[in-house]
Structure formats: structure tokens, C-alpha cells
Amino acid sequence: MPLTLHAIRPCFEGAVPAVIATCALDGTPNVSYISEVHYVDQQHVALSFQFFSKTRQNVLENPRATVLVIHPDTGAQYKLAVRYLRTEDSGPLFECMKAKLAGIASHSGMTGVFRLRGSDVYRVESISEVYGTGIAPSATSAAGAAELRACMARLAAAADLEGLLDALLDGLAAHFGIEQAMVLLADTRGERLYTVASRGYPQSGVGAEIRPGEGVIGMAAQARTPIRISHATSEFGYGRAMREDARSHGMSAGLDVEIPFPGLPGSQSQIAVPIMAGGRLLGVLFAESAATSRFGYDDEDALMVLASHVGAVAALLEEREDSHEEAPPAPERARPEGTPLRIRRYAENDSIFAGEDYLIKGVAGAILWKLLRNFVDERRTEHTNRELRLDPSIRLPDLSENLEARLILLQRRLAERCPELAIEKTGRGRFRFSVRRPVHLAEIPR
């Protein structure tokens, strides 16, 4: 069987430096190290263009070159006959390589030296194994079809978005050994990604936000491409992104409305893949590990398959949630007793505080306020998704906004921070808002 690029993908993880031999028009050969050879598809690789080098000058005038890569597990060498095609200096390929290069730079003590100017795309014309190199690989547990199948079976059992995301994260832990993972959903205006589900962190971080373009997660959302790093790098650390975000958004009036991003201290390997639904970005699936080089190309494939399945199923569930089943009769409830809980809403950003504790803001904040008002003014506890979607006071950015996702966020935030209030699903497209303690509402104007 002829060698395929696919079969030697581990060579393109950046673990062992590759070399490229080129030739100038005057016939002078040149040989140079390359920081990053990236697997593009079965026929193409992309090389990191960082410096205006002789290599680059040569391939621009004479596109045929030879690349020598090393398999990081077996030590086998492979020779690729390649032809330079083009350079990309923006877009998914570029962003993907930029993040990976930052990880490679960090690993090799070259942070600040390695900067990606472009992704040089080459067609691979032939591949050969260099004679007498390499040892038999030890058995590895790469993510395969069996794990994927088991994980998909869990997803198929989910009845709603919340169940779907839980099944996804549980499946990743059970079948792929991915202990730390989270799902962030995007608002339709594309301004924010907010955490709705997570596994493996001391704090769930539900409600924590990331802006597109920031860190591994934000870049996966912005470029709609998987972003993966194998070694911790400050350049793509969410720690930095979050700190800067907090600084630039220093809310006035001293309102502390940042929910700390969950995140693993000492995180080395990170992967973020976009969750798409019919060309629309639904969110991002993120996983991380304290081990270096934890996620390979096979994991990336598996997470992409799962994310696209989750995207398609989520879109179907979303449609279903807008229709609703008949309401079960509302139970007779005793009026809540006890000292009233003071709940304040700041008009400035729809942020809501219970006592002194920040609960939630934005659309989910507006929903909570609506539910509280309905309870106080009308003693109403039963609600439908549809009614909320059409409510002008909630100001959903647009009709395609994922209301269900906001409800999950709100439900989880309440469960964590304010158990006196609870959202309980009572059927498809409907829920009950339970208030277990008297509440006193106060609006704080701008």
C-alpha cells in the first residue's frame, strides 16, 4: 500500500523539527529547518512562513522542494516531494497554524521569536519512507471509530439541548478519557461565547464569557476552525484573554459581574472546535489537559464529528422547543415564607443581584427579571419558551437566538448561586419557575 499523508499525520504535530531542501534558479541548493509542517488534507501540507528566508525566496522562483519529517513515536523519517502553491495570511488555516506555532514556540523556548507571517501551502507529489529508520510503534490508544460510535449513542438518547450537552461531556470523559471539557454557546450577534456546561472543574463556570478571537476558544469561534495547542503558551492562554477582557470591560458602578472562567491551572494541551448548525456558529466545544501533546489529529477528527452532530441535533431540538406540550395543571403552592430576598436589577446591563451576590446579566438576566415580575405581579409560575421568545421586554437579539441555551444557563446559575429560585422543566417547550422564599424586587436605573 502506498504511503499516504493521512498515515503519517503524527509527523505534523510539530514535536520534532522538519527540514526542507530547496534550490535557487542559479542551481545552489539550500537546506533549512521548519518550525511547523501542518497537515492540510490528503494532498497538501502547509509550512510556517516566519522569516524572509532563502528557502522562501527559492520556492517562489522554483516551487519544487523536498521535505524531511520525523515520526514522533517511531523515529521513522519520511521524505515528501512537494510543490509550492500559494501563501495564506489570514483565514482558518492561518489561525490554526498560528495557534499551533505559538505552542511549539513556547515548548522550544522561542516565544516572541516565532511569529507566523503566512501559511505556505504545498501539494505533496510523493512520499517515501527513509530506509532503515524507525522502530515499531508502541500500541497507542488513538481515538477511533468505536469510541465515536459509543459517544454518538449517548447523544442519540438526549431529549433536549441540556441533555445533549451533558451527554456530549459525559461521553468525552467515558469514551475518550477527556476529563476537562466545556461547551460555550454563541449569541447570534457573535459578540460573546458563554459557558453553559462543563466537566472536571472545581467551579462549573457556567455563565463565564469569552469574546470571539480571544484565546484558543475565541479563535476557533472566529475562524470556524479547530484550534489546537500541545504546549502551554501565554499567547493563547485564556488567562490572559480573560484578564484583558475584564480590564477593558471594567463595569462602571463597581459591579463585579465577571463569572470566573473555569479552566485548568497548568493546562498544557488545549483543543477547541466550532459547533456549527447549517452554516451558523452555535458554539465551541473545548477540552484541555495538564499533559503535553494530549490531543492529536485523531482527537481533532473525533471532536469535529461530535461537534457537527451536536450542532445538527441542537438545531432540530431548538425547533421542537418552540412548540410546546399542553401544560400540566399548576400545583397549588403555599406562599413562600421567610425573610424576603432582595433582588436588584441594574438597568445598565440587565445584571441581577440576589442579596449581594451577582447572579446573571444580559438576555438571561432579562428572562429572570421577567419571570420574577410575573411571579410578584401575577403569582404566575408556569411559562412556555414561545411566550418568552415573543416577549418584547426580553429583547432577544433576534428570533433565531437560542433561547433554550439561555434557559439552561439561567437554570444552572440559579442552582449554583440562588437555590431559592429554580427553573424546572415541565414538558417540551415549557417550564415552571419556582420561588421558595419571598422576594423583593428593586430596579436600579442607569
Partner: protein
């Protein structure tokens, strides 16, 4: 040292010591269609006057290298120290295959040892280093006169011609 025609100055002593240490040696040549071929080497020897460099390779991995050299003598060799990234490239146009001496075999054995130590220093295993290097039961030697040397340590100075 008389009767020598005008030529490039000899290799700097520091560079000569560097390329004979535990560095990665990668050799490139090119064919008549100006397509370059490349092979990882097994060590290097610098002549006493530092005007001639001999690189050692495993012939079964040489690809088109011998043909290329026989046809045009053009060669480029990059030497890089894995732990420091210090890298230099030498070029020449008079490369030819020379006889392997017993000293060359000792150099290749010593190089494998030093290079393995280097790789272990930055976290690779001895086994991995051995696998990349592969079995080298036979050796071939290619000698050339360096006519140009370039600094290629990653960074803004990469690609600069080194002073003699």
C-alpha cells in the same frame, strides 16, 4: 601552503568545533531539474586547515545524492544543535565522494553518542534518537570546500552570511 589559488577563507575555528560536535547534520544536493534532495548525516570531519569539510552519510538513504554530486558538485549542509537551536549552514560547489577511513567510522560512532546525549538533554529518549539515526552498517563520505557560511539560528538574524 603555497601555490593555492585564490579561494574562500578557512572556516572559523569555533564553527569548525561546533559542526564536529553532537549536532544534527542534514545534507542537501540538487539534480539537473533543480530539485533538491536531502538526507540526515551521521557526522562530520573538518580538515586540519579548516578548508575542507567531510560529511558522513548512510548510503542506502542517499536518494539521488550521489548522482547529483557526480553531475554538479553542488551541496548545502545545515548543522544544528538541538538544545540551543544554534544553526549554521555551509555551501560548496566542489563536493565529491571520497573514501571512508577508519577514522570516519570512529567519528560516526562518536557522533551518534554525542547527538543522542543532546537529544536526551531536551527530553527525547535514547531509543528514539537511535531510531531516527537508524542502523548505519555502512558509511559514505562526501567532501567539499565551504565557500559560504550562513547563520541560521531562528530569529531575525537567520540567513545572514557569516564573516570568515
Amino acid at each position: 601552503m603555497t601555490g593555492r589559488k585564490a579561494q574562500a577563507p578557512p572556516l572559523d575555528a569555533d564553527h569548525a568545533a561546533f559542526i564536529q560536535g553532537g549536532v544534527s547534520v542534514v545534507v542537501a544536493t540538487r539534480n539537473a531539474e533543480r530539485v533538491a534532495d536531502v538526507v540526515r548525516g551521521c557526522g562530520c570531519r573538518v580538515a586540519r586547515d579548516r578548508r575542507r569539510v567531510t560529511v558522513l552519510i548512510e548510503p542506502s538513504r542517499a536518494g539521488t545524492l550521489f548522482d547529483d554530486i557526480a553531475r554538479n558538485g553542488m551541496i548545502a549542509v545545515v548543522f544544528s544543535q538541538p538544545s540551543s537551536h544554534r544553526t549554521i549552514q555551509l555551501k560548496g560547489s566542489d563536493a565529491r565522494i571520497v573514501k571512508v577511513t577508519p577514522a570516519d567510522r570512529a567519528i560516526a560512532a562518536r557522533h551518534l553518542q554525542d547527538w543522542t546525549e543532546e537529544l536526551c538533554r531536551i527530553g527525547y529518549t535514547r531509543e528514539f534518537a537511535g531510531a531516527v539515526r537508524g542502523i548505519a552498517p555502512t558509511l559514505a563520505a562526501i567532501a567539499f570546500t565551504p565557500t559560504a557560511a550562513f547563520q541560521q539560528t531562528p530569529g531575525p538574524g537567520a540567513g545572514q552570511r557569516l564573516p570568515a
